[in-house]
């Protein structure tokens, strides 16, 4: 009896399945299929969600790791780019400055009569006011004038293949022939540490505060017409000459790049014919008396 029931149940179930198969509608599915799917759906959903969660978690870890690496790379790149930008900004500033400098310097000396040098060291504290230039490929010689677009800086006293030492005009041992631009009265400019003194200007000469002083071009070193400074004080010196204080035309603290003039103020043959013409003694001699009162 039991076996018959089993067989009957088996036959019933198999027949039921066959009916299901024969009446299957692919588009909608039978109600039984919907019921089974509806029952098992949450389990499938839960399993999928859990695996999605695991995938998401490990994906986030992986992403975090890759983002960390990427972040480090980007930080490095950013640092490099910042350095590059700073360098480029420096180059841009240099170019602007050089453009301004060369505009005036080209007009005055011509393109082949000077080269640019970088100031690498500036000594303004010691007794000797000097600066050191990096001249690179430029050929520096002793006594070559050093100028900027604003005025006279000094002259080279020591020259090496790549570096040169410049004696600033404000040094107490430095001097140059100069003249008051307004009256063409010549004198000698001496360094005074921070400022300049214009000597050998007779008491009768017309000198006013604010007068511009330029190089006179008779010392055999500095060319004529380079700004030296401005008269800031005119006082009685001794019985014969004024004591004139000048404010230098250049600000030493702003010196960054300078021009070394390669032009020979005195021709070589004259220099040979007159040895010692270019010397401190020569510079110290009285200039020719100014014809103007």
């Amino acid at each position: 009896m039991r076996q018959r029931v089993d067989h009957f149940l088996l036959a019933f179930l198999l027949l039921g399945h066959l009916v299901l198969l024969s009446t299957h509608e692919r588009s909608e599915g039978s109600r039984l299929e919907q019921l089974v799917l509806g029952t098992l759906g949450p389990v499938v959903h839960l399993a999928n969600a859990s695996i999605d969660g695991v995938y998401g978690f490990f994906g986030s870890l992986r992403l975090a790791g890759s983002l960390k690496i990427q972040n480090q790379q980007l930080r490095l790149e950013l640092a490099e780019l910042r350095q590059k930008v700073i360098r480029l900004q420096g180059v841009e500033e240099d170019l602007k400055r050089l453009a301004i400098l060369s505009e005036t310097t080209y007009q005055r000396f011509g393109s082949e009569q000077f080269f640019v040098a970088d100031v690498v060291y500036l000594d303004t504290d010691s007794w000797l006011r000097t600066l050191v230039l990096f001249i690179g490929d430029g050929e520096a010689k002793v006594n070559q004038p050093v100028v900027t677009d604003r005025g006279l800086v000094g002259r080279i006293v020591v020259a090496t293949p790549q570096y040169a030492k410049v004696l600033l005009l404000t040094d107490r041992s430095a001097s140059a022939s100069a003249m008051i631009l307004r009256t063409r009265r010549r004198g000698i400019v001496h360094g005074e540490g921070d400022g300049l003194l214009l000597d050998n200007i007779p008491l009768l000469a017309d000198v006013r505060v604010g007068d511009e002083v330029v190089s006179a071009g008779i010392d055999g070193i500095f060319p004529r017409g380079i700004p030296v400074g401005t008269v800031v004080e005119v006082g009685p010196g001794n019985d014969l000459f004024h004591r004139i204080r000048l404010e230098p035309a250049i600000d030493l603290s702003l010196l960054d790049q300078v021009f070394v003039l390669t032009e020979e103020t005195l021709p070589a043959d004259v220099r040979q014919a007159m040895p010692g013409a270019v010397s401190e003694e020569a510079l110290e001699t009285d200039p020719e008396p100014d014809p103007t009162p």
Binding site: V5, D6, L9, H24, V36, L40, V43, V44, A47
Partner: protein, 173 residues
């Protein structure tokens, strides 16, 4: 009732594992039929009627998750589970190897039934290939044997634990 609940819980577990395994290993669902293994395992030591019902339920669950005709696996699993029940009524299954062989044989029956149904109902569609059938028989046999060993060990452990607990309770009382 308890058996039915356990069976349903096992079915839900199988559905979850099947989904997980299919996501993690796309080849898994084509090489291992966990629904059939559940149907055969639930048939062990049970009546053919129970086996038929277990086969039907597992088959319909497999049908709902597969893209084929609804009732295809139901028919095959019902017939297979009934056959397995008939076999285990006549052979004592104590060894993992025999359980594994039963699983493989059940898989062969299921696959053959499916192939016949494919040829009858889905004209133009290809049924399972012999190589695929062999692979499924092998995996089902191995998995069935492993599961049988695991379940038997678990049952022994549970039995011992119950005995110890019973002794302790008796001593305390």
């Amino acid at each position: 009732m308890k058996r039915s609940l356990r069976f349903l819980a096992a079915l839900l577990l199988v559905v979850g594992l099947h989904t997980l395994a299919s996501r993690l290993m796309p080849w898994f669902s084509s090489t291992v039929d966990m629904f059939l293994i559940l149907a055969i395992f639930s048939s062990l030591g049970r009546s053919p009627a129970w086996s038929c019902l277990a086969g039907t339920v597992t088959g319909l669950a497999a049908d709902s998750l597969s893209g084929g005709l609804f009732g295809l696996y139901g028919f095959a699993n019902t017939l297979t589970a009934w056959g397995a029940a008939q076999v285990q009524q006549r052979i004592v299954l104590h060894q993992p190897v025999t359980v594994g062989l039963l699983m493989s044989a059940a898989t062969a029956v299921q696959m053959t039934t499916l192939a016949v149904l494919f040829s009858l109902l889905l004209l133009g569609s290809e049924g399972p290939s012999p190589g695929f059938m062999l692979l499924r028989m092998l995996t089902s046999g191995i998995l069935g044997a492993v599961l049988f060993v695991t379940i038997r060990r678990f049952e022994r452990f549970e039995k011992k634990w119950r005995e110890r607990r019973g002794r302790r309770l008796r001593i305390e009382s």
